[in-house]
Symmetry: C2
Subunit: 193 residues, 2 copies
Amino acid sequence: MHHETVTIALPKWTENFLSTQDKTFLDIEQRMSLALELAKLNIEHKTGGPFAAAIFEQQTGKLISVGVNLVTSTNCSIAHAEIVAIAIAQKKLETFDLYADNTPRQLVTTTEPCAMCLGAIPWSGIRSVVCGAKDEDARQIGFDEGAKPKDWIDQLKNRNIEVTRNIKRQQAIEILRSYVNHGGKIYNPKKNG
Amino acid sequence: MHHETVTIALPKWTENFLSTQDKTFLDIEQRMSLALELAKLNIEHKTGGPFAAAIFEQQTGKLISVGVNLVTSTNCSIAHAEIVAIAIAQKKLETFDLYADNTPRQLVTTTEPCAMCLGAIPWSGIRSVVCGAKDEDARQIGFDEGAKPKDWIDQLKNRNIEVTRNIKRQQAIEILRSYVNHGGKIYNPKKNG
């Protein structure tokens, strides 16, 4: 076994798209619109599942990083949109704690986080989470969100992490549906041989 | 914002260490011993927290990948040992589903998974999890394991993922303690400004 590395790269189209966008997004609806557009483009470019996320400075709205689901295109089950956005933000800010400088940062995600991404949020230093589609919306369409504590929102609040839900929920649901309706793969691993 | 990438690389010492080891580990005690040795070396080399993991073919014991906690050394809160081992195994096998070929693979981890890594396991295709120190051992020493469903073991079993606990638990606890006793940083992000 040689010296091992894993690289997760945002698709080239994200660079082109972001070059046409504002650098600052004042309200959470604008921030969610950016994430929803990324999710749509991720479907169109066939670079992964219908999920996107972005991280902003909470007060100024400055965009720090974006993430899209890259599970199928990178052969990495860890590469959910939220994980990608967190890892890129931490690399840019050169810290594993996005609150190390006491600047609150906000994760905007097109669907409420799955069990893995939910678990990742407290470790990241994110202070606020804004969600589009609800957990049950995703499950109803066929996505697996995993086993989360029933009181996950209170659990985050107890760690001083705010949660804001149902921002552009209907648009977020439509994106999930459009992925499935166009034959998008729901890419869970096999449970049985 | 330019074309963004994040790379997680195993430290160079892992390559040297693994070159001296067997390639196949027949029983779970041998597999755990390898993981415990990696956790010890991760402390000695100051490349991260006192946690390590390894993935094996469950039947043959063939080593597929290893992971160590790289949070502090790579500025990435996602880089827990289990996540690193899963991502490297998927890269090597060129699939996001470690059960895609119907070969069951086993994740051996020196401490029961935190909430994030627990959430990652069902998405990975891992069929079996072997743990050293218990969740409460880690918490008692000061590590934060996050909010996990109380019935997390049953939740994994319901997905046909076996869990085996308490393998070399005392040795695993001693490694956690030795990290803290030698001034190792418990690197959770700040909760308040």
